[in-house]
Symmetry: D2
């Protein structure tokens, strides 16, 4: 009845399962690393699958780490190692001297959107050292050439992040781009507990088609891996979801069944009108985020930057 | 059906009006300063009124400034002047040399909670200058003695803000305390558009009774004026409100009436069970805030600090 | 006897005057706007002049504003207007719709080096608005297209600022670049009191010759105006300067004359050895800055951004 | 000839050794923990010693860690353990449940002065958890009750840090206060390489006598341990020191001897006049600090907070 929005391929897939809809062209594999660490791989293989999912073809790997909100250093280390493993499986070809640009998207001034900038703050940057001293500075060990950029947000720069990143790539020619961004989930239960790694990059809007503001292999000319953690839920989504739940509850409860049936009798147009009425336009500019988001974002940014440091060291 | 939470006396009052409940012991006065600037005064005169409102006896003045989210300097100046006027009306007695402690509650690291700290950053602090040079430093003009403190949050200090403020007051003996804090509203439409000024201070929980962690005249021994702007809505509140709206819509629409009637047939217990089921416990730790909250909080903190600077200069 | 370093053309010129050396190819014009506001223009006209001054050919205009360290809003406004006037005199041709990229060099994390980033924070950015809504968003008034970037420092990005800026220019094609940076002066008396505006851009090292890391018209292909305020003095410079002063004092005082004469008898090599011995190598990595640098940098960044907003509105 | 200022007892002592002056009432013990880690204990035993040293009677322990400027985690860990050891030796009596207030002096907005605030950011705060859940929250293990405060600087609060700390102590009654502050050294070689731990607290000015703005056992009524790292040198000190070195060099070099002798012939008054002339009054408001101070202060604050976490866990 009400549409929901999510950046997680895993949640898009779940939505279809809820609705008992089978989609062709999408495969799912699950792996339970430990009681508190699950990895789910969603493969969108065909254009039809992409259209249905509202996300481009490619691989979406989700690490679900139930305790990632906690302050447990060993556990975070375990998650970082898992992230490094997933990343290494996605690298175009394993090279000791890969040159990588790490892009931290988002707004440092808005707590739940600061994930990307914080990750770049903590990644080990080597490019300038390698250019000045060569591998000698690293004990003659082959070392990946890591650079980083925080492009900022359009209200501060007047430019799309994609414009800035494209320019930096033209000048510095990295072989791989890693984009880190805070995501929007559909469910508050996933906030700060899930890492999505995808080889499709960042794709604004519906995510299908060649959008100039996308940050992906098509628009940049080099492979792009996007790493994201959901830190917010769109306020409209949370409201819509609760309404769907309310209606669902009406169907399944005996005493509420007549209510549910009443709703069912509404035609499509009436339903849309009801939704428009209830979802205040103010909600579109709002997000939902946990109260301890400052601690969470700091901790999670370390978990990701540590994963990158392990993957590229 | 679902309870809603708000820090605004104005919204508590409106709730009763929605429900067509008359409360004794509460008076309301409204004043339209201009098309875009309304002032509403809620007076809670009796203990009964306080219990009904869930807020202590006292005066709650709300400045509603519809365009306060916009970047219009003249308009913000107008709001600051109005705030100064309201404040001056509340001062224990107008003195040229009042000594005032401005307390900025909240967490500088969480964008919508940074309002209080930012205000203290921009208030003109004079106490140390007066103590070293006297009024000579201000051209021999009588000058209020302004000090400021940002106590931080309990996770950072291990102490209640009220403990820190009480200690500082014992040492420095101000005649008046101004507490600035970000508030929670019930409606997203009020976010960043409303300033509440009250002589009841800050009262955690239900707000009635003498709570040790309160920051008010009873616990501090000096008059306390609290200034707040709602920057968040509790996620549970927004969901509950939408559900109430949904049910309301069912009543008023012909085609949905049977649905509403079905809901009505639920007894109180069934209704509570439904609410508990739908309101995910995760929501309790979540808030809703506008996406442009960083710009908004910076702008609003200037509007308040400017109001204080006008009131005490 | 000891070399001193300064980013200010004005100070390089003064150095020659101190030493009673005439340099050809360098002209100076002075203008006293008010008792507290002087403008000095240094024109380096020839390659010989450039070599002697250690700075590329071009125009260097210095606004000396003795009270710019004070918190006087009207005075800062006056300085901003003067800055706008100087800038407008340097624009390639006065156009109502110039597209300008403002670059904030420096490190936001090091207080005296945060000037550039802070200026970009406060410049009115219009490019994204013009691209989405056209001049309609500005009441159909012709409006300059302003974008901004804070490239960060090499330790954070692994890239030269010049690489990032070059990339951004290739992508977004501005007609003019304004680079804002904190400078090093020779004299502590100039700190936070002087603005230098030059059409030669930013030129690392000796500043002469086509250095790839320069940010100037030669390397970027568009005119570059650099705006800088000295916020630090190199520690080695301050020590060297004091030693020169000590030796100078010895010459001019009767009782010390024999001492000065003693020093004079040292040959060039002995002098250099003495300097090397006294100037601890630790000093090279040190700078001198005022204790109230945080307030100063915030205030000065507003003065510059306001000047830019006036010039391009 | 020129006076120098230092917060390090070690440097005050060295000064006397340079000048070949014996002071009674001051003892020194040295311990070489490793090639890169030296501990020096200076005991000021008598009032005469205190007057000579310009520092109150008490114990001053200095950890010199030559490589503390480097980014070596293991080495920093070693320093943290050494700091914990020194602290434990100073605790009034070793108790498992000591209640401790950690005070972070300084200005978060001025990079080299942010050490204290950053340390409090990273200390493990337990007081609020113990008060709500008791030792149960720590697996029934006896746990020190740690609270923390960042009082801010007088320009921001209008109050002395000592007033705020005194108030907080009256309200919360800790048994021990740890004050962390950035210090001024005499020599740039000591910057970011030295930790001083003293049981005399913080003593402004000459440091002798009962100053109301002191933060020590006399003024607070509980034991106070101060921990400091020099992050700046006063600009006047560095200049004075270089002049002393210059004059020293003149004495020891054959060719310069006449110069030195010339200086020697100056009487005391002439010397003072020379010093006054050379030491620009501007220098008093200036400090010298390393260019990489942002990284250094972050790293060092972790080293100290880790030491505190070890000492009190």
């Amino acid at each position: 009845m009400f549409e929901v929005r999510t950046d997680l391929a895993l949640e898009s897939k779940e939505k279809f399962e809820e609705d008992n809809v089978e989609i062709k062209g999408v495969r799912v594999e699950e792996e339970h690393i430990s009681r508190e660490l699950h990895v789910t791989s969603v493969y969108i293989d065909t254009e039809n699958g992409a259209k249905a999912m509202g996300k481009p073809r490619g691989t979406y790997i989700t690490i679900e780490a139930a305790d990632m909100m906690e302050e447990d250093e060993d556990y975070h280390r375990e998650v970082s190692i898992q992230l490094a493993k997933v990343l290494q499986g996605m690298l175009p070809e394993r090279k000791e001297e890969l040159s990588v640009l790490v892009v931290g998207l988002g707004n440092r001034e808005v707590t739940p959107d600061a994930l990307g900038p914080y990750v770049v703050d903590n990644v080990m940057i080597t490019r300038h050292i390698l250019r000045e001293f060569g591998v000698y500075a690293f004990g003659n060990r082959q070392t990946c050439c890591i650079s980083g950029i925080v492009p900022g947000v359009m209200a501060q720069t007047g430019m799309e992040s994609s414009e800035i990143v494209r320019g930096v790539i033209e000048e510095t020619n990295p072989e791989l781009v890693i984009v880190v961004d805070a995501l929007a989930a559909r469910s508050v239960k996933r906030l700060n507990r899930t890492i999505q790694i995808t080889d499709t990059g960042i794709n604004p809007g519906s995510g299908v088609g060649n959008h100039r503001n996308a940050i992906n292999e098509q628009t940049l000319g080099v492979p792009v891996i996007a790493i994201g953690i959901p830190t917010v839920v769109d306020a409209a989504t949370i409201v819509a979801d609760t309404m769907n739940d309310l209606i669902g509850a009406m169907h399944s409860s005996t005493s509420l069944r007549p209510v549910g049936e009443g709703l069912e009798r509404l035609d499509q147009m009436e339903k849309h009108e009801l939704a428009r009425e209830l979802l205040s336009p103010h909600l579109n500019a709002m997000f939902v985020t946990p109260k301890d988001i400052d601690e969470a974002v700091k901790r999670l940014s370390y978990t990701i930057s540590e994963g990158l440091n392990i993957a590229f060291s």
